[in-house]
């Protein structure tokens, strides 16, 4: 019997791809846009692209915030992807200050268009970037969604805003964009977030999803 995972459908983005990728990774995928479906889920994925405020509104309109908190309090595996990861934070400054789900402490800020040496680079940050642990000595990736991949793996990023965690321990992986550090993966126990799209990062991305399904 395949492991069940519920993908939250809140009117945002390309659900088809994440569902396909999860199925490919061996999961039994359900979609839910209702509190009951979310509360009963074994595993939960929050996808998302676009603006933070639109995402939070999508959740609010469907009354999903409490259900998500209920789920997370049960200590079951949760994965936020791209905007979904950003929504896990306390708040975002995109188009004004907006409250997030507060699953991991921190804020969402604009990715700077200026590199560390003063040169301009393109925004959105689009493309494949190598991802590393913040500390080269000890990856800290055991027992996380990154346990089966190696430092330097590449993920497909597409974003103009990024999360910054208050506690360093919650940042599992980073990538470098023109000398600026971007948070690539966050985690607190079974709750994880990926700024890049594992469903768009080829076989490595699928491996990360498989690992999530086995947590």
């Amino acid at each position: 019997m395949n492991t069940m995972v519920t993908v939250i459908d809140y009117g945002i983005g390309n659900i088809f791809s994440i569902c396909n990728a999860l199925s490919k990774s061996g999961a039994d995928v359900r979609l839910s846009s209702e509190p009951a479906g979310i509360k009963q889920a074994d595993r939960l994925v929050l996808p998302g692209v676009g603006a933070f405020s639109d995402g939070m509104k999508g959740l609010r309109d469907r009354g999903l915030n409490d259900a998500i908190h209920y789920f997370v309090e049960k200590n079951r595996p949760f994965l936020g992807i791209c905007l979904g990861m950003q929504m896990m934070m306390d708040e975002s400054e995109e188009f004004g200050i907006h409250s997030g789900l507060g699953l991991i402490s921190g804020k969402v800020k604009a990715v700077s268009d200026t590199g560390s040496k003063g040169e301009k680079h393109k925004i959105p940050h689009i493309g494949w970037s190598p991802v590393f642990p913040p500390d080269v000595e000890n990856t800290g990736w055991q027992n996380t969604i990154l346990s089966e991949v190696s430092p330097g793996f590449t993920g497909y990023f597409v974003h103009s805003y990024g999360a910054v965690t208050n506690n360093q321990k919650n940042t599992l992986a980073i990538c470098d964009y023109g000398g600026i550090r971007i948070t690539a993966v966050i985690g607190r126990g079974p709750v994880s977030g990926c700024q890049f799209h594992p469903e768009k990062s080829g076989e490595t991305g699928l491996k990360i999803l498989e690992t999530f399904m086995r947590l």
Partner: protein
């Protein structure tokens, strides 16, 4: 820095992938699902599907092909050709597309760019510009798959596209497309300098060194290639290995395991 992306561009006519020269003619080169699967397993960074007969039917007709691709291919998929409204975009995203490329409809109604980027996010909205050299200098933006003149200056249009909310600009040289004579470096360099969103260069790749030129001399953030791949002139492995040994900032790819190599 993000690696410069190598994107496979598949021009689709009905059930086939075709390739024209300077946007004229169409030679059948294969089936979309076979070619895109091959490129995915060979390490392509992204795929673009362009519906070349969308104007005949008044809409983009690639939904089934897009869904088929999205089931097996786990890299970004951009779809263009006949995208005219937010409803068209929604339908394509529902089918599995990640981004849409819009040209003709945006030229006719520029507000469409803002509508799409506001509703779906600018990362989803690629402004596709088909640029043809003007005798008196500069480039004009063409529409309808290279068939109609818009009177717009391609560079000014790129800038305006960014202001309106486009997340990427795909700039295709009509003069070079399908010729394998190399990219129009001046065109790409000028667009790249004019906008601060990523620029995808398209049209003209012929030799392995063209990639170095377009990246180092023109500053492209991504390169869309078609003829050299579809006609089998080079494998992606050849292209990637040559690029990496030339010191270009390209994603490494482990061909044995089909996984990214550790960098």
């Amino acid at each position: 820095m993000a690696f410069t992306r190598i994107i496979a561009r598949l021009d689709i006519k009905g059930p086939n992938v075709i390739k024209g020269v300077q946007f004229e003619g169409s030679r059948v080169v294969g089936k979309p699902s076979e070619l895109s699967m091959k490129y995915y397993h060979d390490g392509i960074d992204e795929i673009i599907y362009m519906d070349t007969v969308a104007s005949l039917y008044g809409r983009n007709g690639l939904h089934q092909l897009v869904s088929n691709a999205a089931r097996e291919i786990f890299i970004p998929l951009t779809v263009g050709g006949g995208v005219r409204s937010c409803e068209d975009v929604q339908a394509l995203l529902n089918a599995g597309a990640d981004k849409v490329a819009v040209n003709t409809a945006a030229v006719k109604r520029p507000e469409l760019i803002t509508e799409i980027s506001r509703r779906f996010g600018s990362q989803c909205m690629v402004l596709s510009i088909e640029a043809k050299k003007r005798r008196e200098g500069g480039w004009e933006a063409l529409t309808d798959n290279g068939r109609e003149h818009s009177g717009l200056d391609a560079i000014e249009w790129a800038k305006r596209g960014q202001e309106l909310g486009a997340g990427e600009i795909m700039i295709t040289s009509v003069d070079r497309d399908g010729t394998k004579k190399g990219f129009d470096l001046e065109l790409v360099k000028t667009v790249s300098a004019a906008v601060s969103v990523p620029v995808i260069a398209s049209g003209g790749m012929g030799g392995l060194n063209d990639l170095a030129d377009i990246m180092m001399k023109a500053g492209a953030d991504a390169v869309a290639i078609a003829s050299v791949l579809h006609f089998g002139d080079f494998s992606l492995k050849d292209i990637r290995n040559h690029a990496i040994s030339s010191g270009l900032n390209i994603r490494p790819f482990d061909y044995v395991q089909g996984l990214e190599e550790k960098s």
